[in-house]
């Protein structure tokens, strides 16, 4: 079937100009952009927005960015990793500043989302900036009463190049302390000399240690660079997890 559709005029997902209220550095290569979006309808943890940059000559570039803030927060936060030769991310990290406008549409997506009412246990696996939507899920979970959280245990396994490349490191440690999330980092390049955690790419043994056994029927969310996402999803299914409970979101070559 081939359909010819009317032009974008009747779009149900409109572009809005959000105002930037703050841009703050997370790590040497990432920044968080705090936004005030007029008429934001609310979102679910795991959703993203599309951001559009338009040059003076009309040339457009559009990219997706996950929402880092939980649905409970008033402002919308995106966290962007700066890709040196990238078209959009260097602008977002280096040029954009408070009081600027940023054109976006959202919230978008319904597959890679999680709500505490769906239950757990929750197994979150991230590589690089893939931690962004998973952090929104953990922040959302932290808003629930302790008794509710106790019935939805959560584990995060997060792969980063170096200790300093870990996005939200302090925040994740706080979440581990105050909302009983088990957080494990693996560092794939240079680790501090006193580092006692994992220092290799995510492998089957790591997923067996951090994940639940398949009999616990966890809900798994895997996000980050495409090669990492595909290898982790394959390993989880090999371990015996139900493929229907392993949700993935690919960020592309970089993630």
């Amino acid at each position: 079937m081939t359909a010819e559709l009317p032009a974008a005029t009747a779009s149900r997902l409109d572009w809005h100009v959000a105002s930037v209220t703050d841009v703050r550095r997370e790590t040497a290569r990432t920044c968080s952009i705090v936004l005030d979006v007029p008429q934001w309808p609310g979102h679910r943890a795991g959703q993203h927005v599309d951001v559009r940059l338009v040059a003076d000559d009309g040339y457009q570039a559009q990219r997706s960015y996950s929402i880092a803030s939980p649905p409970e927060d008033a402002s919308l936060v995106l966290t962007v990793e700066r890709i040196d030769d990238g078209e959009v991310s260097p602008y977002l990290c280096d040029v954009l500043q408070a009081h600027d406008g940023l054109e976006l549409r959202g919230p978008i997506g319904g597959y890679f989302v999680w709500d505490i009412a769906e239950g757990g246990p929750l197994l979150l696996v991230a590589g690089g900036s893939g931690v962004v939507p998973l952090a929104a899920m953990l922040r959302h979970r932290a808003h629930a009463a302790a008794s509710v959280r106790a019935s939805v245990p959560a584990h995060l396994l997060y792969s980063a190049r170096t200790w300093d490349d870990i996005i939200y490191r302090d925040d994740l440690e706080q979440l581990a302390k105050f909302s009983d999330v088990t957080v494990a980092f693996t560092i794939t390049r240079e680790a501090p000399s006193d580092w006692r955690g994992y220092r290799r790419r995510i492998d089957r043994a790591m997923l067996e240690e951090i994940g639940w056994p398949p009999s616990a029927t966890p809900r798994a969310y895997v996000c980050g660079p495409t090669p990492l996402v595909e290898s982790v999803a394959t390993l989880l299914v090999e371990i015996g997890h139900d493929p229907a409970r392993v949700r993935t979101e690919r960020f592309g070559p970089t993630g």
């Binding site: 978008i108 319904g110 595909e230």
Partner: protein
């Protein structure tokens, strides 16, 4: 860079699909015309880059859905999908 490292998935196509459909399509179950297996739209392989949509079956690689924008409008080619089950209550 190999093409497998560049591919995205149906989640990245969610915005483009929302330009056409009334609600989110990433949880819609789509049946492949090539191998007859059904997958949620979110798990299809997306070779369209950050701004295009070329969704392939994760089982047999059949192109299940393509969206091409032209100045005159958008073309949607879904000849590789036999059935789409769109959830009654969008999740």
């Amino acid at each position: 860079m190999r093409v497998e490292e560049m591919r995205l998935d149906g989640n990245a196509a969610a915005g483009a699909l929302r330009e056409i459909f009334a609600h989110d399509m990433t949880t819609a179950l789509v049946t492949c015309a090539g191998c007859a297996r059904a997958s949620p739209m979110g798990v299809l392989m997306n070779y369209g880059g950050p701004m295009g949509v070329i969704l392939r079956c994760p089982h047999c690689d059949t192109v299940m859905l393509r969206i091409v924008s032209t100045p005159g409008g958008r073309y949607m080619d879904a000849s590789g999908s036999s059935v789409m089950l769109i959830p009654e209550r969008p999740t």
